[in-house]
């Protein structure tokens, strides 16, 4: 719970510093959505597509779906109070689906579709959100060899600060 709160706050800060992204976003999709009856949640199809996009950006199949669901939970909750963001996601998913449904494509075609939208703000937003959430996830940390905070163990001063033995060989 505490961790989740920290993560949300971090995402909030990132959104704040992503002002250029916001400008680009409104310039490209300057549609004022959010009439009283505009849906405030992402659709199940959008959510599934975003999860797949997150996975393709940094695929660690051995970790299962949970880390990618966590990223999209964050995006989804940010989108609830941000009509521009919902609009951008809607347009981004629609572009991925253009002509055929993205989720049904094979992996290499999906990667190609992502490459085609790489220059746009939807892709930049998803890349940033994925990177910042995935690599702030303790499950991923363990997987890639990051040990996280050592405060509870008294720091690294007596726990491997200077323990490598391969430098004198070779």
């Amino acid at each position: 719970m505490k961790l989740l709160w920290h993560r949300r706050r971090f995402i909030g800060a990132l959104l704040k510093v992503s002002a250029a992204l916001a400008v680009a976003r409104s310039a490209l999709w300057g549609v004022q959505a959010s009439g009283a009856d505009a849906p405030r949640s992402l659709t199940p199809h959008q959510i599934e597509t975003l999860r797949r996009v997150c996975f393709l950006l940094f695929p660690y199949p051995e970790l299962g779906a949970a880390p990618y669901e966590r990223i999209v939970d964050g995006v989804s909750s940010a989108a609830r109070s941000d009509a521009d963001l919902r609009q951008m996601i809607g347009n981004g998913v629609a572009r991925l689906d253009a002509g055929r449904e993205f989720l049904f494509l094979d992996e290499s075609t999906q990667i190609e579709a992502l490459t085609q939208i790489e220059a746009g703000p939807f892709f930049a937003y998803m890349l940033q959100m994925t990177r910042d959430d995935l690599f702030n996830n303790p499950v991923v940390w363990t997987h890639i060899g990051y040990e996280g905070s050592s405060l509870a163990f008294g720091g690294y001063v007596n726990r491997g600060l200077n323990d490598i033995d391969w430098l004198n060989g070779k």
Binding site: L134, F135, L151, L161
Partner: protein, 516 residues
């Protein structure tokens, strides 16, 4: 002791900003019995946790700034906001500037389009203040305090340096306790230095000079207070500082002396926003130099994947470097010098930096070798250019109605040559260790901001004299990195603290003799 001063009390010194410069001037004056009101835009940081994502929004200046030229547009500068300023975020590398870097005209003299200026402060005098600054900060490696212990990451850097024939891989002087002193414990090698030190082994302006000033009866800090402009009287003396208090109300604090230490971005911003009929181009800006000559160090981050684990997250983020290129050597094909400094990143930082914009299977596999990474940063001397600048956006205002700053910076050709040489050397260094890949990051946001209100021996060349005193406004001082006429290639904080101690002595003496 909780001291407070009346806003109409015009005998106080008002210090704007509580980072390295502002906190040091405040402490020096308050301990000499001079009443000080320090106005800080951020909040006190009550608790530091070993969680970079959680600390980022608590420590970082997130108010809007616009980057232009080579700087990231949305986040051009990574500086601190909070009691203690950017020292909460700094990695605590505390080198002195070398003697030759006080006279950059000797090696930069012939560069085109540059506004090279030598320091008006005698180097011999600086060495005294450097020693005093190191003592006040408890810098390990000075005054008999041992250096911090070697780490894996440092040993990797040193081994690579030696393999390519470099001689000066050295652990640095760090403002991190190697032994308990100053009421703070010894470092336990947490590795979260730039997110704030959870055990306070790292010196910050908050845990030392601000804490010391608060123990006198002569110091009040007003946090969450955002300075908009400075007012002056008919004689051109600064009279008061206008700020927005935590409730959003406009306040005016009268002042006998004003010291500006709001970082080299917001210091000129405040002056430029203080225009009047007497100072149509901004306060203290008759010379036109306010906001000009912005320098930030020639910077690059190189990451490498080594054949065996390094675990570079274990221990202080910065511990040592390679100092073979610190001095100018015309045979290298560029003017000036640079340092290599080892630096580590948490996974989120590494993912952004190692290969900017990269994604997909290959990059995921690469990042999975997090524990095999090593990294260094290149920090070189940056020749000042008139056009690199901090200006006010003509239309866009922040939530207080203050114009948003535009930070413009373009690399000089000399800097590109220096960076290319440095990056190639870093590549050789890591490849000598059998690296599987060496990567150059895109330009990160600037953290070392200098030069925008520079000191000069001549009124036509700068904003202030060698004490940091404005040429135009006799009771206005520049107390942060904005007064640097050149960048050298040392991290600036120690020099900011040394200059602030020197300046405070001058202010004290002038006030006692009723000349201020």
């Amino acid at each position: 002791m909780a001291t407070s001063f009346d806003k109409d009390d015009d005998h106080v010194v008002v210090v704007v900003g509580s980072g390295a410069g502002g906190a040091t001037v405040s402490r020096e004056l308050a301990m000499a019995g001079i009443d000080v009101v320090c106005i800080e835009a951020g909040s006190p940081v009550e608790k530091i946790v070993t969680d970079a994502a959680a600390m980022f929004p608590l420590l970082t200046w997130l108010d809007r700034r616009i980057g232009s030229g080579d700087l990231p547009a949305a986040f051009p500068v990574w500086s601190g906001k909070g009691v203690g300023g950017t020292t909460l975020h700094w990695t605590a590398h505390a080198p002195r500037m070398e003697a030759e870097h006080f006279e950059p005209s000797r090696y930069f003299g012939a560069l085109d389009d540059c506004t090279i200026l030598d320091w008006p402060v005698p180097f011999e005098e600086m060495t005294r203040y450097y020693a005093a600054a190191e003592r006040s900060m408890g810098v390990s490696g000075t005054h008999g305090w041992p250096k911090l212990p070697e780490s894996n990451h440092y040993r990797v850097l040193k081994a690579g340096a030696e393999r390519i024939g470099l001689k000066h891989a050295e652990r640095s002087n760090m403002a991190i306790n190697s032994v308990a002193q100053g009421g703070r414990p010894a470092c336990i090698q947490l590795g979260f230095c730039s997110s704030g030190c959870a055990v306070n082994a790292k010196w910050t302006a908050a845990n030392t000079p601000i804490a010391q000033a608060l123990q006198t009866d002569h110091f009040e800090i007003r946090d969450r207070s955002f300075v908009l402009h400075i007012e002056h009287d008919g004689k051109g003396q600064a009279t008061s500082v206008v700020y927005v208090d935590p409730n959003g109300a406009l306040q005016r604090q009268k002042a006998r002396v004003v010291c500006l230490a709001a970082n080299a971005i917001d210091t000129p911003r405040i002056l430029l926003n203080s225009e009047s009929s007497a100072f149509p181009n901004g306060l203290a800006n008759k010379s036109g130099h306010v906001g000009r000559h912005y320098i930030k160090h020639v910077f690059a981050i190189v990451t490498a994947i080594l054949p065996h684990p390094v675990n570079f997250h274990r221990g202080t983020q910065l511990l040592g470097g390679v100092n073979d290129f610190v001095y100018h050597d015309s045979s290298r094909g560029f003017a000036g010098g640079f340092k290599f400094e080892q630096v580590s990143f948490d996974p989120a930082g590494l993912a952004v930096l190692s290969r900017p914009g990269a994604w997909g299977k290959g990059y995921a596999a690469q990042l999975k070798k997090y524990d095999h990474y090593a990294a260094l940063l290149v920090m070189g001397e940056d020749p000042p250019q008139q056009s690199n600048s901090v200006t006010l956006h003509p239309a866009e205002k922040d939530r207080y109605g203050m114009p948003v700053p535009v930070v413009h910076y373009v690399d000089h050709e000399n800097s590109r040559r220096m960076r290319d040489f440095a990056v190639q050397t870093a590549r050789d260094l890591y490849e000598s260790l059998g690296s599987e890949g060496v990567f150059l990051s895109s330009p990160p946001p600037a953290t070392h901001n200098m030069g925008t209100c520079r000191m000069a021996s001549n009124i036509d060349n700068g904003v202030c004299d060698h004490w940091g005193r404005s040429y135009d406004v006799a009771n206005l001082f520049l107390s942060d990195g904005s007064q640097f006429p050149s960048s050298g290639n040392a991290n600036p904080t120690l020099t900011i603290v040394a200059l602030a101690m020197r300046q405070a002595g001058y202010i004290r003496e002038r006030m006692l003799s009723r000349n201020l």
